[in-house]
Symmetry: C2
Subunit: 264 residues, 2 copies
Amino acid sequence: MRFAEASAVWQVDEETWKAEVQPGWDIFGVSNGGYLMSIAARAMSEASDGRLPVSVNAQFIRPVSAGPVEVSVGTVKVGKSFSTLRATLSSDLDSLVLLGSFASPGSLRDDVTYMTGEPPDTPSPDQCVRALPGVDAPLPPPLMDKFEERIHPEDASALEGRPTGVARVRGWFRFLDDEPLDPFGLLLAADAFPPAVFNANLPLAWTPTIEMTTHIRATPATEWLNCSFNTRFVTGGFLEEDGEIWDEEGRLVALSRQLALAPR
Amino acid sequence: MRFAEASAVWQVDEETWKAEVQPGWDIFGVSNGGYLMSIAARAMSEASDGRLPVSVNAQFIRPVSAGPVEVSVGTVKVGKSFSTLRATLSSDLDSLVLLGSFASPGSLRDDVTYMTGEPPDTPSPDQCVRALPGVDAPLPPPLMDKFEERIHPEDASALEGRPTGVARVRGWFRFLDDEPLDPFGLLLAADAFPPAVFNANLPLAWTPTIEMTTHIRATPATEWLNCSFNTRFVTGGFLEEDGEIWDEEGRLVALSRQLALAPR
């Protein structure tokens, strides 16, 4: 099933959308956070007459399993260029609460007026390590067959239980079957790689996301996304993971940051 | 007036707090965003029986001027360690909407298990440039007399209209009269420096914040905060500003990121 179908929403009434969280878009039964954000953002986008996400913040309060969910959306403000919306994604109980800014497609510019930092220097996809669901191992999780992910050879050993010591994961992402990447796909891609902290020499344990924000800077113009995820600080029981997503033409398309519980 | 007093809230009913946005905590009449976040977070903290902010996201939808405001707070979930809350700060109209995670003070740890990156190598406060409100100039704004801010000599020339070319501002922050810094003060400090982009060679213009997230990692144990703010990407009409805040003992106390409109 293509991502667009797996993340589709249907309007029920003025403030309510329903969706079907699909099996397989999960890690050991817990649906992927970026996938759930993309479902909620589709409802928020429809509620704002098709404006597209510029920034989406989600607080993850309960895990979601495959099955029907409801997204209730409230409009905070409709401005000339931006709309601000709130949303709640619920299965039996509220599971995600979100705030987001959405902009009309025509108001987005494509200029670059200042840039330090550049795309990661990752070898081409065919020189990287394909992340495929493990047959005998818990990693990578089944989710990895829903898209194509190729990990930088220097960062890939965490997949086999040998962390590099540097909490970083770089790699390429694309959808299967030439499905194009839109802003909703970027919300997924920003949370679709193995946690960067798996490459730190720390216990390999679940790192539940408390909250995540993704900024959409541009629509990708190429097939592959060049992604980099870094954790710099595991302190006080928390860690941040910062993501940068570029297209193949060197266009910055998204920045993400999540706060998660440190492995222990 | 001390920060604690300027950001105080009074409960009106189970879901409503009132506050008085003070004059002078503004930039040309528009109240500072971090100051407003601290007011809302105090109401959210009281609504969660004194749990303290771990992560606060605010969407800035309308400017706020000095005067009475109301904060309505909703509890999304009360967990064993974390509470998730939503809030709206309104004067006549809704001006800020927020989501936040709050934790019981006892559940916060002070360990460091992984760290790359270190505090900025800023000279001691007495070797830095004091940012004081301009007498004849628009910069620095009047807000700067509400706390003490000392800018890294290499980054300070933006205050005089001579950008360095690198969108970075490093410096020290403390409250006046030995007022201690708590998590609410960190929400202010994360938005209290001149925009890093003022040091880029771009038009010196208003950069309205669309949304901002601050993560509180620890309570500062020292008087001064060692702060660094960086903008790496001004693209598509947007910029991010990332903040790192440390105490004098090298403890990371907060990370922040905001999305703002690029100057034009």
